[in-house]
């Protein structure tokens, strides 16, 4: 069946099987591999993308359900060579290790910040409670989101690479 949607601002039309999951459409048909797949049962959240501005688990959305709607993935967070503050926050606060849950986490945290620019620790924890990270124990994801909240106003420099100078040295 033919489906048309907007993905990261670009119109996309494709002929797909009715059963095709959105996560597989994004990954296998569009090559947007930043969105991951982790569980099949809507428990892990590595597949979180935005559908019409709301975070959804794309392993539980049929591609056809996105007909005429706007999808946004992690690849769209960086704009004009500038990292989104949530991306910068994850780098600055070591909010990721293996990186597999990271795109989904960032999409959920970005959505939280858009509706609540100054979330408390508890509000951040609740916002990501439908997602699983096995590496970070969540602590630094919370800090990364707070970092982003505190740095929303200041836009990142173009081509902002992580700063590599040590900030402190412990003896």
């Amino acid at each position: 069946m033919q489906v048309t949607m907007t993905v990261n601002g670009s119109a996309v039309t494709a002929d797909v099987e009715p059963r095709l999951l959105l996560v597989h459409f994004l990954r296998d048909h569009l090559g947007l591999t930043g969105t991951h797949w982790g569980c099949d049962t809507s428990n892990c959240g590595t597949c979180v993308v935005w559908l019409e501005g709301e975070p959804v688990k794309s392993c539980t959305v049929l591609t056809l359900m996105a007909e005429g709607r706007a999808v946004r993935t992690v690849e769209d967070l960086e704009q004009d060579g500038r990292l989104d503050p949530i991306q910068e926050g994850f780098v600055q606060e070591h909010g990721l290790q293996c990186g597999f849950c990271t795109p989904g986490m960032m999409m959920a945290c970005r959505a939280l910040l858009d509706r609540n620019p100054d979330p408390s620790e508890d509000e951040i924890r609740l916002a990501i409670s439908g997602q699983i990270c096995r590496c970070t124990g969540y602590e630094n994801i919370v800090r990364a989101t707070r970092w982003a909240a505190e740095h929303e106003a200041s836009t990142s420099e173009p081509e902002n690479e992580p700063e590599l100078a040590p900030e402190e040295v412990t003896a």
Binding site: E17, R19, L20, H24, R27, D28, T33, G34, T35, H36, W37, G38, C39, D40, T41, N43, C44, T46, V74, E75, L77, E78, L83, Q87, E88, F90, V91, H94, L96, Q97, C98, G99, F100, C101, T102, E121, L126, S129, G130, Q131, I132, C133, R134, C135, T136, G137, Y138, E139, N140, I141, V142, P162, E163, L164, P166, E167, E168, V169, T170, A171
Partner: protein, 789 residues
């Protein structure tokens, strides 16, 4: 020690943001499932629905007729290739595809290769398997009953489910101290079967180039070199014609060490079809069939004097190894390093016995951040010490402080053969107590108890042995556990370091660059870390058992120091002085007493590639390599305190605080170390309170998806409170000890001890779900590993 330089040091050790994050935050990580090769086909595995059944017949005709199916492979196909069975990691065999029987639910029965992943799955539905169900062995405690069904009748003459008996320590000496003890406490302790469940499941792409004969494997492996050698040894493939690429890995935790049947099947599929074949397991496959962890049924006995001096410890363990003995342990240690079970205490004698048995469950057994069974060992001793404290009416902190190995006893020879390298245990525990406000917490607990509120404080103190290991007595399948490293400085002063170990999130691209930076004075940004590709890195056994920094990190340090030594000779030639007159300082060799007469490492690198006449015996270029054979394990340790609140009406546990003091020696990158500790502490919450893979009587897996196998989320985890002490390892070139598994090893006991302290119950098995806590409060805790009473 050269490990820690001044805070002004512009390069080297210290908190530093990660180089690898730039790609990950952009969604540009490159995981196995992200890789697409031209003409690539997709594989899917048909798995057994029964835990134990004879296969009468398999009909694949309908699947083969599917228009998009390219091949259907069964055990019969593999038998003709001699590949139906393969050697396990523990001197047993495993079935690649079942031929005679299936021996656990989820076992591999057939493999379909199709044009796309959906079609491959569709075709699985078209395969007809005629099974004759057999009674299953699910309860490990009944595996050795005389009437138990024999699982491994594939082995000629086998009449029972017994795998091995193993012991360590001194039985007679232990009996003697128990005989004269004032107090002996006995407690059965189960460490139930759990699964590491990395967010990325396991998978591989096999690409056999028929023209060159080269087989390239893109695999989610923690140990690419070990995989290549095992393929060469087992399948007879020439080792130089195998390339294993381990790209970005979405977490491992031990789950991605071994070679799974699915990996072998992609190779067969690629040979059969002539195309690259990708197979990524789904989550249920991951949970049901790949390496589980723990499943140790332990009986602990602790002997002490009335005033609280621990005299001896005895543990008998029944180890459930599943249907094939495929636990990845050093050959001499069928129970891994479990005999470190005396933990952090100075006692007079200890003895343990471990019996391994087959059951109708998935094989595996090393997995999940356990340092080769040290997790089970740390748990049982920390539970036993708390049981003893209860028996003696002593505060568990006081009992521990009275019995911890004292700083002056290091190096300490444990009663079961380990030589602990260094430590100051009381300092770590006192720091944790101070951070927690231990006395105030006890006062608060007393007040709450008086009001009927349930608050618990739990302590655990752990010692790990990590960085396996000395070649003379540690190997995996005959491969010694030494690792290589190559360091090369380019003519312009930038450097590349090639390492044998593979990151699954540990930040090797940053940490290993920091080691080179520390030793050579080259900025981290100018150092490329190459890993995860057997064609481009030196041999080594990979990343697990917290061995990357202890073994490979040492190899890099040694190799880099060789570069520095060579640079000294080149600098001497450049400056026309004797090498003996040179001193090293932050990236340059200078003439003693004349710091302005110096050559930087970049100048030396250029000269070593140029026309400079080099001293006799010095070859051109600036490089160094090393193979590091650890003289001993390193022994990180820590003191953990958990504070929990338990709802008296529901049994629900809330972890209110968690204080973790870790000592892993000097920290190369404290940010990364703390991150690893955070993750391990969350693991502890999961295992103590939520995670278990239980089975019903028929052998149905009751934790086969994330709907049933519950992992901790952000709301179950508190905000971690970390502290540190630093006790360098005396035998490691950098003094570092390894930390990747510390928190997973140490944290479950603290939480369990806290919950049991809250409800004033001596013992209940993990996970301490609301139901289990409630039942324990009624004096009726249940077995968590079985869905039967």
């Amino acid at each position: 020690m050269t490990a820690v330089e001044s805070p002004a040091d512009p390069v080297g050790f210290g908190r530093m943001l990660r180089k690898e994050d730039a790609r990950f935050v952009r969604g540009q990580g490159n995981y196995v499932d992200d890789i697409v090769l031209p003409g690539m086909l997709h594989g899917a595995i048909l798995r057994s629905t029964y835990a134990h059944a004879r296969i009468r017949s398999i009909d694949t005709s309908a699947a083969e007729a599917h228009p998009k199916v390219k091949a259907v492979i069964t055990g019969a196909t593999l038998e003709t290739l001699g590949l139906a069975w393969a050697p396990s990691l523990s001197h047993d065999v495993i079935a690649i595809l079942a031929t005679d029987k299936v021996r656990y639910q989820g076992q591999e029965v057939a493999f379909v290769v199709a044009e796309d992943r959906y079609s491959a799955r569709d075709a699985l539905e078209l395969i007809e398997v005629d099974y004759e169900p057999l009674p299953a062995v699910i309860d490990a405690r009944k595996a050795l009953d005389p009437d138990a069904p024999v699982i491994r009748d594939d082995v000629e003459g086998r009449t029972d489910n017994h795998i091995f008996d193993w012991e360590a320590g001194d039985r007679a000496a232990t009996d003697a101290v128990f005989a004269r003890a004032d107090v002996v406490v006995t407690q059965d302790v189960l460490y139930p079967r759990v699964h590491p469940a990395p967010m990325e499941t396991c998978g591989q792409i096999a690409d056999m180039d028929k023209v060159t004969g080269k087989l390239t494997l893109y695999c989610t492996t923690q140990a690419p070199h070990a995989h290549r050698t095992v393929y060469a040894l087992v399948a007879g493939l020439p080792e130089h014609q195998i390339r294993v690429v381990s790209p970005d890995i979405g977490g491992g935790f031990g789950n991605k060490v071994g070679i799974y049947p699915g990996y072998v099947l992609t190779v067969v599929g690629s040979i059969v079809t002539g195309k690259p074949v990708k197979w990524m397991e789904d989550r249920s496959e991951n949970l049901m069939s790949t390496s589980f962890a723990r499943d140790y049924h332990m009986r602990g006995e602790i002997a002490a004097t009335r005033d609280g001096k621990i005299l001896g410890l005895r543990v008998k363990t029944l180890a459930d190894h599943g249907a094939f003995n495929n636990t990845a342990q050093p050959t001499k240690y069928p129970a891994g390093f479990f005999h470190i079970f005396t933990g952090s205490y100075d006692l007079e004698a200890a003895h343990c016995e471990v019996t391994g048995v087959y059951t109708n469950k998935a094989p595996g057994g090393v997995a999940y951040a356990c340092s080769f069974r040290i997790t089970e060992a740390a748990f049982v001793v920390e539970r036993m010490v708390d049981c003893l404290a209860g028996e003696l009416g002593m505060d568990p902190a006081e009992l521990r402080l009275r019995n911890l190995i004292r700083p002056e006893q290091f190096p300490y020879m444990a009663k079961t053969g380990w030589e602990y390298d260094s430590g100051d245990y009381p300092r770590a525990l006192r720091l944790a107590m101070e951070m927690a406000g231990y006395e105030q917490l006890r006062a608060e607990q007393a007040e709450k108890r008086a009001r009927g509120e349930l608050m618990g404080i739990g302590i655990s103190f752990f010692t790990e042995g990590v960085g396996a290991g000395p070649r003379k007595h540690m190997d995996i399948l005959g491969l010694g556990m030494a690792d290589g490293a190559d360091v090369r400085v380019h003519p312009t002063g930038k450097a590349v370091v090639r390492i044998s170990v593979q990151s699954q999130g540990q930040g090797h691209e940053t940490t290993f660059a920091q080691i080179v930076a520390q030793e050579l004075g080259i900025p981290v940004a100018d150092i490329d870390v190459v890993h995860g590709d057997t064609d481009n890195t030196p041999f080594g056994l990979g990343t697990y058992g917290s061995r990357s920094t202890p073994v490979s990190g040492a190899a890099v340090a040694v190799a880099t120091r060789r570069v520095r030594d060579k640079a000294k000779l080149v600098a001497a030639a450049m400056l026309e002085v004797s090498p003996d007159d040179l001193e090293w300082d932050h990236g340059k060799w200078f003439v003693r007493g004349d710091p302005s007469t110096a050559k930087t490492i970049a100048e030396i690198a250029l000269a070593s590639h140029g026309p400079l006449e080099l001293p006799e015996g010095v070859e051109g270029h600036l490089d160094g390599s090393a193979v590091y054979n650890p003289p001993n394990l390193t022994y990180p340790f820590g003191a953990y305190i958990a504070v929990v609140d338990v709802d008296p009406d529901t049994g629900q546990v809330k972890v209110r605080r968690f204080i973790a003091v870790d000592d892993c020696g000097p920290r190369i990158n404290p940010m990364i170390v703390e991150g690893q500790v955070h993750g391990g502490l969350a693991d502890g919450v999961g295992m103590a309170l939520m995670q278990v893979m239980a089975f019903d009587e028929a052998g149905n897996h009751l934790g086969a998806s994330f709907m049933d196998y519950l992992l901790p989320t952000s709301v179950e985890c508190p905000s971690w409170e970390l502290g540190e002490t630093v006790t360098p390892s005396p035998h490691h070139p950098l003094g570092v000890k390894g930390v990747g598994e510390s928190a997973t090893v140490g944290s479950p006991a603290a939480i369990v001890n806290a919950v049991l302290d809250a409800i004033q119950v001596r013992h209940a098995d993990m996970p301490l779900t609301s139901a289990q806590v409630w039942r324990a409060m009624q004096g009726r805790p249940f077995r968590t590993d079985l869905a039967i009473e």
